[in-house]
């Protein structure tokens, strides 16, 4: 019996985010009242963030295997074979709640956490991306959050030395009280040198590596599993503080240690710190774990067992070490100026036992904490499927040029240069396509291979129809990778939703998962890692459902990549794919017509068509037939042409399809479409190949000049739209500085 000096009251249980039935389950499991430390450990392991208790049932429905998949979900990150004995290891993870409370440190430690997930497995990080959602621009906190999040991401990644090569940004009122910061990282490793977290062997030393433990981040994971209210500001102490310098040292020390052969298993300390890492390592390996907290390097004096077990201090790792190599291992960490301490050992009794000052502070069944945590089948209600919007029912605007100009300067559509110029996107010298393209491309060291990365989701589509929205997020990601000439390999998902205890929110979650699963199966695009972030609500109002998809693709030869910029005047512009003028949930309807209550259907996703059109375009890129390629997404065809023109400083003249109303042709958001350019002499043969493959393709214009001209409309100066497109974000942020 462990002495209990703190009374476990219902209030204390509730403060730990545990429901009465969950507490009863604890009592049933251990047959006595838990100590405060034990209550803290249960709270850390059974919260939504760590246990996936509401989502697990549905996550199991996703396809997670494929011929290239070396390791799917359940490890620190997913591992995919890219040939030649090499693997790409990647994952995306949210840091939403901390980033809202303290934008700079919240975002920075989000980046730090995802980088650790990748290098824990033995990979050197080669790319970072981020998917960000902010509140409406006029909301008083938005500017502060944008500024802090961007500085935090840059501050961490730039110092650590990973290129931040892409991402996406949206502004929407639903994120006013709950921004989203989803950080993605990918690293490169040899397939025979990948490290896992499953502990193996009884009586082996558990080694603590990295920075010292402090009182920061206590209860971070529990905080991330709760809704926000007016008292959110008071939660600032739960946010961790990032130290990219230590992380860079930890990277180099870990890679050196792994190369030495001393590592049996390794796990980073992320959410719920020492508790989660130790329990996961033991539970996965069917082993018990004993920790002596007196051995843990501490930054502050007098830390209790409770504080040490729940601290989320950053830049720490836990490792099972080959005891014969302890001295060599320690020497490596001393060389890099990092802490190295044997803090425990593995046992054969499946208990998680913690000692402090020689006294047992916790003694719990490890499997029930870890892989046998509670699981819920939450009730859900699916909304009725919305009806499509006919182009004829959407008011036309005669001033089509003005519409384009306005569109290119919208918060959701304008250039993100102000953000990505604060990120070092060139370090490591392998960036072949940086931010601003369809997908980022990073050369695999020594070449000629390249890897493509893209993060995508259209939350307004998911809100209108979770199933189609889920499909579309995957399809757009697949299309973006295809647009640079990559073969899409696999994805990681970051599922951001509101409170799953509300059946309608759970309905959004289930619908999106079904859509993602359907698309991933149809496109042979398995999910190899991911993260779920629920309870993204403030004062009872949820965010738009935002299941961000992070895709990775492979280019056999990075020099054969395609980019969006027009290459020369006098080239043919062709449209691949079919245009029906689908305007439901379009930027045109929402932002130009100002119809924010659009309840119509988002564009339907025909996965067979996606695949056929995409495979055709990729083959054409790889054959060297195309001079520029751009996928068509938000804002539609006219916006895509403008983006290609602005990237090049070369204009275009377009001939619209007269079978459709002009606004539907120009701004419809039909899926599975690409714009491509070719030399004039190659057009006939291209159309013949498309015809033979039954791929819809049509000439829509010619590049040249310094304007965009549309039949019968006023020419639009490129310089003018570029100024608008580049101008919004810097002007918005500068306006904040004057306040």
């Amino acid at each position: 019996m462990i002495p209990n000096d703190v009374a476990i009251t219902p209030e204390l249980i509730s403060e730990h985010g545990l429901k009465p039935d969950e507490y009863q389950r604890i009592l049933d499991l251990i047959g006595r009242e838990p100590t405060l430390t034990e209550l803290g450990i249960f709270s850390a392991m059974w919260n939504e963030h760590c246990s996936y208790k509401s989502s697990k049932k549905w996550l199991r429905t996703l396809p997670t295997t494929g011929p290239r998949v070396i390791c799917g979900p359940g490890e620190n990150a997913g591992v995919v074979d890219i040939g030649d004995g090499q693997a790409i290891i990647f994952k995306m993870e949210s840091h939403n709640h901390p980033s809202y409370i303290e934008p700079h440190e919240g975002a920075a430690t989000g980046v730090g956490g995802i980088l650790r997930d990748v290098f824990t497995m033995g990979a050197r990080p080669i790319a970072a991306l981020n998917a960000l959602r902010f509140g409406e621009p006029d909301h008083p906190r938005t500017r502060h959050i944008v500024s802090g999040v961007v500085a935090g991401i840059g501050g961490y990644g730039n110092s650590f030395g990973v290129p931040t090569v892409g991402g996406e940004v949206n502004f929407d009122p639903s994120y006013n009280g709950n921004c989203l910061v989803n950080a993605f990282a990918a690293g490169l490793a040899d397939t025979d040198k990948i490290f896992y977290s499953e502990a193996k062997g009884v009586g082996l030393p558990l080694v603590y590596l990295g920075s010292k433990t402090g009182r920061d981040g206590i209860h971070g994971a529990t905080m991330a599993s709760a809704e926000f209210d007016e008292d959110t500001e008071e939660k600032r102490p739960t946010v961790q503080i990032g130290d990219p310098f230590s992380e860079k040292l930890l990277l180099e020390a870990c890679l050196e240690l792994m190369a030495s052969g001393a590592v049996i298993a390794i796990q980073d300390m992320g959410a719920a710190g020492l508790t989660c890492s130790a329990v996961e390592m033991g539970a996965k390996g069917d082993l018990g774990v004993e920790l002596d907290l007196d051995k843990v390097p501490c930054r502050e004096e007098g830390m209790t067992a409770y504080e040490m077990m729940l601290s989320e201090s950053q830049e720490r790792m836990l490792m099972v070490l080959d005891p014969a190599r302890e001295r060599d291992a320690e020497a490596i960490f001393v060389k890099w100026g990092l802490d190295f301490a044997v803090v425990g050992r593995t046992t054969d009794d499946l208990r998680f036992r913690i000692r402090r000052h020689g006294q047992v502070m916790a003694d719990l069944p490890i499997k029930d904490l870890g892989d046998q945590a509670p699981e819920y089948d939450r009730p859900f209600v699916k909304a009725d499927r919305p009806k499509p919007l006919s182009p004829a029912d959407v008011p036309a605007r005669n001033d089509i040029s003005d519409v384009l100009v306005k569109m290119l300067g919208l918060p959701d559509m304008c250039s993100r240069r102000w953000i990505w110029e604060q990120y070092d996107h060139l370090i490591q010298g392998n960036t072949a396509i940086g931010p601003g393209g369809d997908a980022a491309v990073v050369r695999v060291e020594q070449g000629p291979k390249g890897l493509a990365f893209s993060l995508d989701v259209s939350p307004r589509y998911c809100a209108a129809d979770p199933l189609e929205g889920g499909k579309q997020a995957v399809a757009e990601c697949w299309r973006n990778l295809t647009s640079v000439g990559a073969e899409p390999l696999a994805v990681t998902d970051n599922l951001n939703f509101g409170n799953p205890e509300k059946p309608e929110i759970m309905g959004q979650f289930v619908g999106c998962i079904e859509g993602i699963g359907e698309a991933c199966r149809a496109l042979d695009f398995p999910v190899v890692s991911g993260n779920v972030s629920l309870y993204n609500e403030t004062n009872g109002k949820g965010i738009l459902p935002t299941p961000a998809i992070g895709g990775v693709g492979l280019l056999p030869d990075v020099s054969a990549r395609a980019t969006i910029a027009f290459k020369a005047a006098g080239e043919a512009i062709l449209l691949v794919g079919e245009t029906k003028g689908h305007l439901g949930q379009s930027i045109y309807v929402r932002d130009i017509l100002g119809k924010t209550d659009d309840r119509s259907a988002p564009p339907p996703v025909d996965l067979g068509l996606e695949r056929r059109n995409g495979d055709f375009v990729r083959d054409e890129i790889r054959a060297g037939n195309l001079t520029a390629v751009h996928d068509i997404s938000d804002g539609g065809l006219f916006v895509a042409v403008a983006e290609m023109a602005m990237a090049a400083g070369i204009g275009a003249s377009l001939t619209p399809d007269t079978a459709l109303p002009l606004h539907a042709w120009a701004f419809g958001e039909d899926q599975a479409r690409y714009l491509v350019t070719l030399l004039e002499k190659d057009v006939a043969a291209f159309l013949e190949r498309a015809g033979k493959a039954a791929i819809p393709a049509a000439r829509i214009g010619t590049t040249g000049g310094d304007e965009l001209t549309l039949n019968g409309a006023i020419p639009i100066s490129l310089a003018g739209i570029k100024a608008v497109h580049e101008g919004w974000l810097p002007a918005y942020m500068a306006a904040g500085a004057e306040l």
Partner: protein, 224 residues
């Protein structure tokens, strides 16, 4: 045509791999990585202090590294005429160590900036720029938060008068507010050069241009 080069690695250096790769790619010889805790340098023609955030930039950029174990050996090598090249954090370290005059302050825009700029060769008669032409403008990326070069009027006058400004930001691309658009400067003797931009990231067609190669080829020719 062989050159013995080395790249100093401090805790927090992060462009050492870029630099090692560039040196090998351009000179054809494998450069050495030099550990900051060493107190002696091997026999080298060129010592590079690379980019990064040595010691996390936690005091002032370059301030802690400038007092590192290896620095006396670097000062000694500089005295002997060995070419020393400091890029970005390396430039900051050289200034903090007193091997180059002046300081690099926070960017005028107060933000980290990563973008391509234009560099004008202000003096082509140096060991680091001789493969360019005077007045030639070339493309090069920058990636820094503290690149705003500043010095007292007297020193500035001397730098300009003695042709010790090697590179200047051109065509309105000064990204950080540097005095006189200064991007790179030499010591009195002409064997120590510091610059904020990253020529090592502009050496292959995939980088968008190969304009940075000539800087390394200049040193290669100078030591031949």
């Amino acid at each position: 045509m062989s050159m013995k080069s080395g790249v100093v690695v401090f805790p927090g250096s992060n462009r050492e791999r870029d630099m090692l790769y560039a040196l090998e790619n351009i000179t054809g010889a494998k450069p050495q990585a030099i550990w900051h805790a060493d107190t002696e340098l091997p026999d080298l023609d060129l010592v590079v202090l690379c980019g990064g955030f040595s010691y996390g930039d936690y005091l002032r950029t370059g301030a802690i590294a400038a007092r590192g174990h290896i620095m006396p050996a670097i000062a000694k090598a500089a005295d002997k005429g060995v070419r020393i090249l400091g890029i970005c954090n390396g430039f900051q370290i050289l200034c903090e160590a007193g091997l180059l005059p002046g300081v690099l302050m926070r960017n005028a825009g107060l933000k980290f900036v990563c973008k391509e700029v234009k560099l004008e060769v202000a003096n082509a008669d140096t060991d680091f720029t001789r493969k360019y032409k005077r007045g030639e403008v070339w493309r090069c990326p920058v990636a820094h938060g503290d690149g705003n070069y500043f010095t007292d009027p007297e020193t500035l006058k001397r730098l300009e008068g003695e042709g010790r400004v090697g590179l200047r930001y051109a065509e309105g691309t000064n990204p950080n507010g540097s005095l006189n658009d200064i991007a790179g400067i030499l010591n009195e003797r002409g064997n120590v050069f510091g610059m904020m931009p990253h020529p090592e990231n502009m050496i292959e067609p995939m980088n968008g241009a190969t304009d940075g190669r000539a800087l390394f080829e200049s040193v290669l020719e100078a030591v031949a």
